[in-house]
């Protein structure tokens, strides 16, 4: 009897492996398809879409796309937006989270609940008014204007995460800091933020990639293409050339490389961060 049972369990494991291999294939084939065709001529893409052969190899697509996208400039725009908005997010978010977590005050609690409610507001709801506000404050076509919008829409979730984790810090630490003569700012800077490294890196990764990959906010807040970040540049570029598959494949690959490099270096932090962001504690 035990033999039969273990065989059944074994069968189940084999079944599981097979299903997961199928799933892995479904994930991999499109990625392979794009990557391999980014380095082929248009004719070769048409005739041998799945072939892996050095005969068709060319880097001309990449060179063309690099030039057409004005890649370095677009990359710089993306970096500027991510850096400004993430700085605002971390500084303001940690301050707010700290205040809510340690000060026992009805007003702050109410504000916290309002913040949580704002997590579910889709950008489309505020889009038209945002254009009006940015135009009125001369922040359209401005790195800061767009970064402010990015920071604002990511703020509720950031404050939520910081609050939750700062509440879990033993209160004795805070009291000891006060006894030692730390002010509120010093307590945050010297005691709490060093304990929040995982939360901070999670926010940087989740929101950083989110901002990097976002199309809609730059689409709405920039009307002058010289400010366009990479993803928006790719969008305008692709919309005009949907018959040039060689350029499309190369463009999608080129635009994905920066984030993929980041993932390769920070893979552990990425996966751990995902759990911090979803399952508290």
């Amino acid at each position: 009897m035990p033999g039969q049972k273990s065989r059944r369990i074994q069968n189940m494991h084999i079944g599981g492996h097979i299903i997961l291999i199928v799933v892995a294939t479904i994930i991999l084939i499109p990625l392979y398809y794009v990557f391999i065709n980014a380095f082929k001529t248009d004719a070769a893409i048409n005739l041998h879409p799945m072939a892996f052969s050095l005969d068709y190899f060319t880097t001309a697509n990449m060179a063309n796309v690099w030039r057409l996208l004005a890649f370095p400039k677009a990359l710089l725009n993306s970096v500027i937006l991510v850096v400004i908005s993430c700085s605002i997010l971390i500084v303001s978010g940690s301050m707010a989270g700290f205040a809510i977590a340690i000060v026992n005050n009805r007003l702050l609690k109410t504000l916290y609940i309002i913040l949580i409610l704002l997590i579910s507001v889709p950008f489309q709801v505020i889009m038209i008014s945002i254009i009006q506000i940015l135009s009125a404050t001369k922040l359209m076509n401005n790195y800061f204007g767009t970064s402010f919008v990015f920071a604002a829409v990511s703020m509720p979730f950031t404050v939520f995460l910081y609050t939750g984790f700062m509440r879990a810090v033993p209160r004795e630490l805070c009291e000891a800091a006060i006894v030692d003569g730390c002010g509120m700012g010093q307590t945050l800077l010297r005691i709490y933020l060093p304990l929040m490294k995982i939360v901070t890196s999670t926010i940087l990764i989740l929101r950083g990639t989110g901002i990097w990959n976002d199309l809609l906010i730059p689409l709405v807040t920039f009307t002058n293409e010289r400010y366009d970040p990479l993803v928006r540049r790719l969008y305008s570029f692709a919309s005009l050339r949907f018959n040039r598959w060689d350029l499309l494949f190369a463009g999608t690959v080129l635009c994905s490389i920066p984030i993929l490099l980041l993932f390769l270096f920070l893979q552990r932090v990425f996966i751990r961060g995902l759990l911090v962001g979803s399952v508290k504690g």
């Binding site: 599981g16 489309q124 993803v231 999608t252």
Partner: protein
């Protein structure tokens, strides 16, 4: 116990009440100026003939909503939105739970590999994923049709992205392809957190695999399921980038358009700001309902 702790504690932090509020000001500033004010401004503008920044506008009552509900494409789009929500949320969560259980089952080495691979698409920009699938499903040259034709199955080759009935299911499934990794990892953590003793007891009682799933795994995963259903609904309600990239802006006609795309189409394609504002108000009503559930879940999670 907890109450006593709070009292001792508050003597320390009472003096920080004002300062605490100051600490909240930067976050409040951004959120107020770029979310709260716009939400209310949007509702106000929806009752005017607003045409863009700088153009004078006046109050016109419900006319924007009237012209919206008399527009047949609006009802089509509303239907599309709910179909997308339904297909996406159901398929995504079923697939993610199933995969999470399998990943736990096959052990750490292979499981970790699959987890990392599944998460891979989440890193790509949604428009990249949209473009890639638009190429794969292309009628003349796409991977799907060229594969079918090479097996002599020309009859099965479809104009995948040109069929009104197919476009919403296709968009839903592509977003599932894109997002499964994220949700699988959340469910994976949930499955790992279930104490093995429950399964041991179930085994002793003679439960088979399906019964274990039904009476142990599923109830233990209930909190994760609630969170993920709300998160995925919220995520897909405003999804713009991927759907617009795969359906070339919401086509064919309005069959690939959801509310999230309709706002942008009204503003940038047909220049009907009024209808766009009315759609935005409807989206905020849906968001309020979602926020209610979200708050219940998050506050409950906080109490643990």
């Amino acid at each position: 116990m907890r109450k006593k702790e709070l009292r001792i504690y508050s003597t320390f932090t009472d003096r920080w009440a004002t300062q605490g509020f100051l600490f909240m000001l930067p976050a409040l500033f951004f959120v107020t100026l770029f979310i709260v004010v716009p939400v209310f401004l949007n509702v106000f503008l929806a009752f005017t003939n607003y045409k863009g920044f700088g153009v004078p506008y006046r109050f016109i009552g419900l006319m924007n909503f009237q012209s919206l509900v008399t527009d047949a494409s609006f009802w089509l789009v509303l239907g599309n939105t709910f179909r997308l929500l339904l297909i996406y949320v159901v398929v995504l969560n079923v697939v993610a739970i199933f995969l999470a259980i399998l990943i736990v089952d096959v052990g750490a080495r292979f499981g970790n590999f699959v987890k990392a691979l599944l998460y891979f698409p989440c890193l790509l920009a949604p428009i990249v994923v949209g473009f890639v699938w638009r190429l794969i499903l292309n009628y003349n040259r796409g991977l799907v049709n060229s594969t079918l034709r090479s097996f002599g199955l020309d009859g099965l080759a479809q104009n995948w992205l040109g069929e009104p009935a197919l476009i919403i299911p296709i968009i839903s499934l592509v977003i599932v392809w894109f997002a499964t990794g994220y949700y699988t990892i959340i469910y994976y953590a949930g499955v790992m957190a279930i104490s093995p003793e429950y399964y041991e007891v179930a085994t002793l009682e003679g439960a088979n695999g399906i019964q274990k799933f039904r009476y142990v795994t599923l109830p233990m995963l209930a909190p994760a399921i609630t969170i993920n259903v709300v998160l995925s609904t919220m995520g897909v309600l405003g999804a713009y980038d991927l759907p617009t990239a795969i359906s070339a802006g919401g086509g064919p006609g309005y069959h690939g358009t959801t509310l999230a795309l309709l706002v942008i189409r009204y503003v940038y394609d047909t220049y009907q700001e009024g209808k766009a504002l009315a759609v935005a108000v409807i989206m905020s009503l849906i968001a309020v309902v979602l926020a209610y559930f979200e708050l219940k879940i998050l506050i409950k999670r906080e109490e643990h």
